[in-house]
Each structure stands twice: as C-alpha cells, then as structure tokens.
C-alpha cells in the first residue's frame, strides 16, 4: 500500500477551496473608486447615489438568479415594497427615522418575499418567470389603486426624512449624505452576501442551481433553501428600495415597474451574474451607457442598449466579467510553462 505523502487537506485544490473566501488584492478597488467618486464628482452625487442603489438591487438579484438559479422577472416587487414602506410611513407621519425605517423596509419586503416564495417556488422555469411577473404587477396595481395611502399614480412626494442619526441632513440638491449613507449600507449588505455565498449555505445554493434533482438525492430540503434565499434577497432588494425612497424623498409606481425589474436584470447580465461583482460592473456599464447613449440619441437610445444586450447574449453569456475571466485565463495559459 502506498502511504500518501501529504495529508488530504494539504492537497493544493483542497487548500484553494479552504481559502477561496479570502479577499483578493483587487477587491478594495471598487470601494476606493466609490470614495474617489465622492470627491471627484461632487456635482454628480445624485447620479452616483442612483448607481449605488442599483448595485445593491443587482446584488440582491444576483443572490437568487446567479447563485440559486431562480429565474425571476419580478424583483422590483421587493424594491417597491421597501420603497413604499419607507414612503408611506414617512408621508403619513407614522415613522421616519432613516435607519429603523430601512429595517422596516427590509422586514416588509422579506415578508412579501416569503409569502410569494412559498407559492412561487413550487414552480420552475417559464411558470416561475410568469408568476414573479404577476406578483410584481399585482403589487403595482395595488399601489395604483390604493391612492389614499400610496398616492396612486402620482406617488408620494416631499417625504419628510429627518437627518441621519440626527446629524446629517438629506439635501436633495447636494446629496452628499445620501451618497455616503447608501455606500455604507451597500458595503454592509455586500459583506453579508459575500459571506453567505462562500458559506456552506451558499455552496448548497450552487448545488440547487447546478442540479436540483441531485440535491434531493443528497437529502437537501431544496424548497426550504430556495425560500430562505428568496426571502433574504427580497429583504436586500427592499433595503435598496427604501434607500431609493429616502434619497429621493419620494416614492412612485416606477419602483414597482417592469422597467425597473428589467433594468436591473439587464445590468446584472451585462456585468455577469453569479459573480458578486457582476452587479457592480453591470450597473456602472449600464448607467454609463444609458447616460452616454441618451445624450447622443435622445429618442432612440434604448435601441443601442437592446443591441448590446443581444450581442452579450449571443457572444458573451457571462457578461463583461466573463470576458475578463476568459482573457485572464488565456494570458495565464500563455505564460505557464507547458
């Protein structure tokens, strides 16, 4: 019998797995960019805030779509649930302290996620896609009809949002507080999601995505896992929506619209789903492109974006990050001695 020369856990691939969650050298880069943006573009902080909210929203979508493989077109349901929670509580003078409002937004969105998930996640594929869409449409219609509470089609404007921690004023013209506030919340949410995806739970989500039937055969309570993941994702989307409402001091039907759900999906696919940073890259690329194209072709800019998406879908399934990874692999292969 051959005695193994090294312990099994010291196998290179085992070591790589054991350390895969460690931060890579480039990982501070996006955060440094985000802080640099604050100082470099004080006049664009409104745009920057919107961008950060979109990144957070995309991050929540990535958890269900990229990691658990749940196909959804209705993720704005949770964004809107969070936004309306913050908006309605503040507008009707019930509660408006920013941080606790945000937690309430998360809880309400999570409950919507749990409730709909219990029903939806029995289905798969196209049925699931349609049902997510229906859930969102139902909420949108409810918000439209309940104008006494929701402001209906006009939404609720001039929300009275008090200063953050009683110190930092939310100024709609110079949204410095908004920008830093959203950045900090994004960072916390990101740390949470990053921890989750490298955890045994995250590994089991990947298992469900890769082969649901096999997960049953290893004894995994698949539906409960999916519902848990969906609920967590909904809570994060709700936080994104709540931040959006606080930053803009208004809430309206666009928070629950298919436009918003489709936009975040496009951004995530553009960046590359299932890669945590896909939302970052995708949201930046999407917003920058939309900004740029809208200036060039004020009427037909969405056509350009649509074309780009077709190109991505045909030639770069894994988005911008996927292209980057493929290039890196090629460079490494060239420099490796055969």
């Amino acid at each position: 019998m051959i005695v193994a020369a090294i312990k099994p856990t010291e196998h290179l691939a085992a070591l790589a797995f054991a350390g895969r969650h460690r931060p890579r050298v480039w990982e501070p880069a996006p955060w440094i960019f985000a802080i640099a943006f604050y100082f470099a573009f004080p006049n664009y902080l409104g745009f920057g805030t919107e961008l950060l909210v979109t990144i957070l929203f995309a991050l929540s979508l990535d958890l269900v779509l990229g990691y658990a493989g749940i196909i959804t077109l209705g993720h704005a349901a949770f964004f809107g649930a969070g936004a309306y929670t913050v908006g309605m509580l503040a507008y009707h003078g019930i509660w408006n302290e920013p941080i606790s409002s945000l937690m309430l937004a998360a809880i309400v969105a999570a409950l919507v996620g749990l409730g709909s998930g219990l029903v939806l996640l029995r289905t798969q594929g196209l049925t699931l896609l349609m049902l997510t869409l229906c859930t969102m449409a139902l909420l949108e219609e409810a918000a439209n009809l309940g104008h006494e509470y929701t402001g209906g089609f006009d939404g609720l404007a001039s929300l009275p949002i008090p200063p953050l921690l009683g110190l930092f004023e939310f100024n709609p013209l110079y949204p410095r507080t908004q920008y830093l506030y959203v950045l900090i919340v994004l960072f916390i949410a990101f740390l949470f999601v990053r921890t989750l995806i490298y955890s045994p739970f995250g590994q089991s989500l990947a298992g469900i995505r890769e082969n649901t039937l096999r997960m049953h055969a290893v004894g995994s309570p698949v539906r409960a896992r999916l519902i848990t993941c969906y609920t967590i994702s909904a809570a994060i989307a709700g936080i994104a929506g709540g931040l959006w409402a606080q930053a803009n001091a208004y809430v309206n039907l666009t928070t629950l619209s298919l436009d918003r759900a489709a936009m975040v999906l496009i951004a995530l696919i553009l960046g590359g789903y299932g890669r945590i940073y896909g939302g970052f890259v995708g949201a930046v690329a999407y917003m920058a492109l939309a900004h740029f194209l809208a200036k060039l072709y004020p009427t037909g800019w969405q056509l350009g974006l649509g074309l780009l998406l077709v190109v991505i879908a045909l030639f770069a399934r894994n988005g911008i990050l996927g292209i980057g990874e493929a290039l890196l692999r090629r460079i490494r292969a060239k420099h490796m001695p055969q």
Binding site: H11, A13, T195, S199, A206, E210, N211, R214, T228
Partner: protein
C-alpha cells in the same frame, strides 16, 4: 430472522398502461451484498426510484428499518439512511469534484444552513471529502469541474457523493456503466471496502462482477421478480439462463 433494512410489500408502479414494476416483494438485510439483474426495461431503475422516493408506488408499501416510508419524500428518506447513485450521472456539473462531495457531506452533517462561516473553514468536511476523493482515485481531479472530466471519471464522483452520505442502505444503479474496464476495479474496491453494516443493492450487467460481489441475486423480468437466490442457485437455474444470462452480455 436477520434484521431487515429495506423491504417492499407488493409494490407496483404503472406508467399509463405500462406496468413497469408489479407486485414486488423484496427484502434487503443488514450487511447484504445483493444484486438486482434483468434485461433492459425490466423495471430495475424504476424499482430503485420507488425505494428512494423519486417515484411514488401506484400500490404497495416501502419499509425502511421497519418504518413505513411510502409517503416520505426523497430528501427525508436520505436522512433516514438511504443513498443511491444514478444510472445516468446526476452531478453538479459546473462545480469542482471537491465541491460535489463537500455538498453531500455538509448535507449529511446538517451544516448546510450555516450562512455566516466560510465553507472552507470546515476542515473536517474538507478532510472527509478528500478521503472519499482519494478512495475513488480522483485526487488529480479534485479542483477540476465535473463537466471537464471524462464520463468514466464522472461515474466515480457519483459514488463519492453517495458515500459522503454515509448511508445504511446503498443502492447502486449500474455504477460501472460507462467506466473503462481499466478503471472499473476502482469502483469494486470502493464498494468492497464498505462497512459490514451497510446493506448494498447493486444493479449490474457484468455477470463477472455480479457473481464476484453478490451473496444474493434477484432477477427481474417484465417488472416482476422472476427468481431470487444465491449466486449458485441462480447460475444453476436453466430457465434463468434461457431468459437472461444467455443474452446478458449485450445488455
């Protein structure tokens, strides 16, 4: 009476008008080395699906360790100690070999709900997975994605996953099908070194393997149990030779 691990009582399963499994009375004892043979389409895989809960029987009961598990879903039966491999690979194709086995071990240990610690911090799980990977001679492929492996090596991952569940009942559906003959001994060695306490049921077409491994053989034909006995009895039965053994080698 020896202790019975798994038992069926007049189990049947129809697909429309087709009776894929009919009135099967079957017992798997503790420590059994049992083979299930029969021509293609005999209903062997369907029978395994009934035992594991992938399919519900049209009629009859399935008992696991004396407990009626007929209405218990597949995932919960795994927790009760039953594991299987699939005739056609069902793997986490986009994940590495280590991740595939890690998932099985972590589900068994019940740590898969842990969201706040890195999977890599569970050295015990990695170590156990690596032992299984080593037992199936997959060390060199540990970090490779399953989809990049040749089919025969993927078959070994199937078995590593099932063993990661530390079952009391192990059901192997043609584990060596598609494995190059130079590597099929890896599978036999792995199965051979299983604990005496585990009951193993193997579906296999290679009669050399069956007669070497099995202490008991059940022959299934047309969804029914055609014969059951020791390898000697089965080999000596002229009727079985006629219906099955004679044509087994092109199965």
């Amino acid at each position: 009476m020896t202790a019975c691990l798994l038992e069926t009582r007049t189990v049947s399963r129809n697909f429309g008008a087709l009776a894929a499994v009919s009135d099967v009375e079957f017992r798997l004892e503790v420590g059994a080395r049992h083979a299930l043979i029969g021509p293609n389409g005999a209903g062997k895989t369907t029978f395994i699906n009934l035992l594991t809960g992938v399919l519900r029987p049209t009629q009859g009961r399935v008992m696991l360790k004396g407990r009626d598990v007929t209405d218990i879903p597949e995932a919960q039966r795994v927790k009760l100690g039953i594991a299987r491999t699939f005739q056609i690979n069902r793997l986490f194709r986009g994940l590495t070999v280590l991740e595939n086995v890690y998932i099985a071990v972590s589900e068994r240990l019940g740590i898969a709900l842990d969201m706040f610690r890195p999977a890599g911090a569970r050295r015990d799980v990695i170590e156990e997975a690596m032992h299984l990977i080593a037992a199936l001679k997959l060390e060199d492929d540990t970090g490779r994605r399953v989809s990049e492996l040749p089919y025969g090596r993927q078959r070994l991952v199937e078995i590593a996953i099932a063993l990661g569940l530390k079952p009391e009942v192990l059901l192997l559906d043609e584990p060596a099908a598609g494995v190059p003959s130079a590597e099929s001994h890896i599978i036999l060695d792995a199965i051979g070194s299983l604990s005496e306490q585990i009951g193993v049921l193997i579906i296999e077409h290679d009669m050399d393997v069956v007669f070497r491994f099995a202490e008991r053989i059940t022959v299934m034909v047309g969804g029914r149990i055609f014969a059951e006995g020791t390898p000697k009895e089965i080999a000596a039965d002229p009727e079985i030779r006629a219906v099955y053994l004679g044509q087994a080698y092109h199965g």
